[in-house]
Symmetry: C2
Subunit: 375 residues, 2 copies
C-alpha cells in the first residue's frame, strides 16, 4: 500500500527545503556525505568551551550556537539546556524553523562532545552500506518514513504496509488502514550496537552485523528505548516533546537524554494519535564510547529506570491535553508528583520541563530566527 | 543475549522427540523436505470426503484422521470441528501428545483441503531460500523461537535480544530482561503474501520478495493477524486456545479460522504472561488461492472484524483465570454476551468454544492416543 507521498517523498522534501548539508568533522567525512547532505542546512550546537573554534568545511550552509549564544538567546531559561552532554542538542530543535529535524551524535570527539541538528535532515557518524554494497541514503529513508503513515493500533506482520511491495495482511481491519501521521522515525546502527555500559563491558566485541530490511510502527501503548544517534522527527507534530532533559555537567545522570525524550514522546504520540516508526535506515557506528565513563554516567539511570518505565507505562493524559505543549506540562506535573520521591533530581527536571516549554513557545512565537553564528 | 537453550535448540528437540516428518503431497515434495522433516512425526487431518485415499510417501512416520475418525473419537463433540475448511486442523492439535506443534496449509489441493499438523514440527508448502541462496530450515528457526524467551513488556529496537549477535539495547529495563516463556512462533511467507481477497484482487501481481532477517516479540496489549500457514506453538502452554473455530461447510464464514485462534491466543498469552513471536522463518508460498472464492468466504469476516477487534482489544480476564482452559471459557462467555448481537453465528461459536475445551480435556485426560489410522 505504498502511498503517493511515500513514493515521491525525497524529491518533494528536497524541492521544498533546499537545504545544504555540510560535515562538521573533517573533510574526508564531508566528502563521504556530500552527495546526500549538501542540499540541507545544519544547525550545530557546540558543547563545552565556547572559546574553542569549530571548523566547518567549505561549501555547506550552517549556523552554529555555542554556550554563550544559548545563554544570550534564552537568558535565565538557558538553565533547561544541558551543558557538557549531548542533551544540549535539543536547543537546536527549538531554534529550527523547519518542519523536520534529523539528529545524530558525533562520536568522533571524545572530550568535546558536539551535536548536530540539521533542519529536515542531517549528518551522522558514517555511511552504512546495504547488503548489495550500496551506500545507504539515510535521509531519504527517514523522509519516506515520516511522509508515510503509521499503523499503531494493530500489528502488521509484513512490517510497514506503506513500503513498496508490502501491504496490510489478511485479517487487518480495513478501518485502521488509513493509519495516522508519523511523528518520529527512529533509525538503527550497524557495527557498534547501542548497548548500556554493563552490556558493553560484558560483550566488548559484539558487533551488529544483521541488516534487517524493515520499518515498523511501534504499537500504541508500548514504550521503546529511543536512541538519539540516528533520529528524525516532525517538529510541527511533536517538537516540544523532544526535550533531552538535564544531563551532564552538574547533574547526577547522563546518557538518558534520548531515553527521557523517547518516553515522553511516545506517551504523547499515543495520546494524540501520532505514529512512531523504527527500523531503517541504518548508519554505521564506528567507535564505541568508553564503557567505564558510560557506567559512571548511567548508573543512577539504570536503577531509576526501573521506576521510570512503570511510571510512563501508567501515565494517562486528560482529554483537554490537545497540544504537545499541554501534554508535556501535564507530564511534568506527574513527574513532580510521582517521581519526586525517587530522587529530588526529578523535582528539578520537572521544573526544567516547564522552562523548556516556555522557552520553546517564546522562541517559536518570534518571527525572527535567534541570532547564532550564521554562515 | 543468546541463551543456551537457543543455541542448542534443534539437537535437543530432535533427541527428545525423534519424530519423522513425511510429505503428504507427492514424492518430489517429500524429497525436498526430507532432510529437515524426516526425524519428525506427522498428524494428517484429512478434510472432505473420507472415502478418498490420501497417499503418503514411504519412509515417513504419520497418523491420519479423516471425518469418520473424528466423529468416532469425539462423538457428539465432533460438532466443534469444522468440515471442508482448513480449520479442521485443530483436531490434530487436540490428539497430539507432544509438547510442540508446527502447522501449515497444504495449498496444492484446491477442492480437497487437507491440513498437516506434525507434532513438534511439520511440513509446509515449499522450502524458501535465505538471501545467500541456502534452503531455510524453518523447523530449526521455529524451535529456536519457542525455546528462547519473549520480551513483551517493552520494545527492543534490535529485535529479538535472544538471537546470536543481539541483545537488549541501552535503556531496556534490566528487570525485564529475563523475558517470559514463548508460547507461539509465527513464521512468514515469501512470494505470495497472505492478503485478503480485496487486496488480492487489487494487487494480483504483488509478491513478497523482502527477506526481513528478524524475529520479534509482539508487545503485550497488541493484537496481530495470526496466519496458520507457517505456525508453531507450545501445546502445553497454549494448546487449548488454538481452536480454529467454526468455518467452512454450514457456516457463514471462512478464512478466519487462524485469525480467530490468534485473537484468543494473544489475549490469553497477555493475561498469562506468555510471549508471541513473529518473523523468521520464511516458507515459500507458491500458489495464490482464488480471490473470488476467498471473497465469498471472507466477506462477512471483513465487516465483522471491525467489531471483533475492538471486542478483543477490550477483553479483560479475571485473576482467577489461571489456566488456558479457564481463560478460554471466560472468553466464550464474553463472546456470547457481547458478540451475539453482531450475528447469531457468535452464539453458536461460543457454544462450540466450550465444546472444544470439553473435548480437549477429555482426550487429553486419557493416557491412550485416540485411534486414528496409525502407521
Amino acid at each position: 500500500m505504498a502511498s503517493e507521498a511515500s513514493k515521491s517523498a525525497t524529491p518533494l522534501l528536497k524541492d521544498e527545503l533546499d537545504i545544504v548539508i555540510p560535515t562538521i568533522r573533517n573533510l574526508d567525512f564531508l566528502e563521504m556525505w556530500r552527495p546526500f547532505f549538501q542540499p540541507y542546512h545544519l544547525i550545530i550546537v557546540q558543547d563545552g568551551d565556547p572559546s574553542k573554534v569549530i571548523k566547518v568545511p567549505e561549501g555547506f550552509d550552517y549556523e552554529l550556537y555555542n554556550r554563550n549564544d544559548i545563554n544570550r538567546i534564552l537568558g535565565p531559561k538557558a538553565s533547561c539546556i544541558s551543558f557538557k552532554d549531548s542533551a544540549c542538542r535539543c536547543f537546536g530543535y527549538m531554534v529550527s524553523k523547519k518542519k523536520y529535524i534529523y539528529t545524530i551524535d558525533d562520536d568522533c570527539f571524545n572530550s568535546l562532545i558536539w551535536v548536530l541538528i540539521i533542519d529536515v535532515v542531517v549528518i551522522f557518524p558514517d555511511v552504512a552500506k546495504d547488503p548489495s554494497g550500496k551506500d545507504i541514503n539515510a535521509l531519504e529513508q527517514h523522509i519516506k518514513n515520516l511522509l508515510s503513515p503509521s499503523a499503531p493500533f494493530f500489528f502488521n506482520t509484513l512490517y510497514d504496509p506503506f513500503r513498496d511491495g508490502a501491504d496490510f495482511v489478511r485479517g487487518y481491519p480495513f478501518s485502521l488502514r488509513e493509519g495516522v501521521p508519523t511523528a518520529v522515525s527512529h533509525g538503527l546502527w550497524l557495527n557498534i550496537p547501542d548497548y548500556d555500559a554493563p552490556t558493553q563491558l560484558v560483550k566488548p566485541l559484539e558487533r551488529n552485523t544483521r541488516y534487517v530490511d524493515a520499518v515498523m510502527t511501534i504499537p500504541k501503548g508500548t514504550l521503546f528505548p529511543m536512541c538519539g544517534m540516528n533520529l528524525a522527527f516532525n517538529r510541527e507534530l511533536i517538537g516540544p516533546a523532544m526535550y533531552f532533559g538535564l544531563m551532564g555537567d552538574g547533574q547526577p545522570i547522563g546518557r538518558y537524554d534520548d531515553m527521557w525524550a523517547g518516553w515522553c514522546t511516545k506517551v504523547i504520540c499515543d495520546h494524540l494519535g501520532l505514529g512512531v516508526k523504527t527500523g531503517l535506515p541504518y548508519i554505521w557506528h564506528s567507535k564505541a564510547s568508553n564503557p567505564f565513563v558510560n557506567l559512571k554516567k548511567e548508573y543512577k539511570g539504570i536503577y531509576w529506570q526501573e521506576e521510570l518505565i512503570p511510571f510512563f507505562q501508567s501515565v494517562t493524559l486528560p482529554k483537554d491535553c490537545t497540544t504537545v505543549q499541554k501534554c508535556y506540562i501535564e507530564i511534568s506535573q506527574q513527574v513532580k508528583a510521582k517521581l519526586g520521591k525517587v530522587d529530588e533530581y526529578f523535582l528539578k527536571l520537572a521544573d526544567a520541563m516547564v522552562t523548556w516549554i516556555e522557552a520553546w513557545d517564546e522562541i517559536n512565537a518570534s518571527a525572527e530566527l535567534p541570532n547564532g553564528t550564521k554562515k
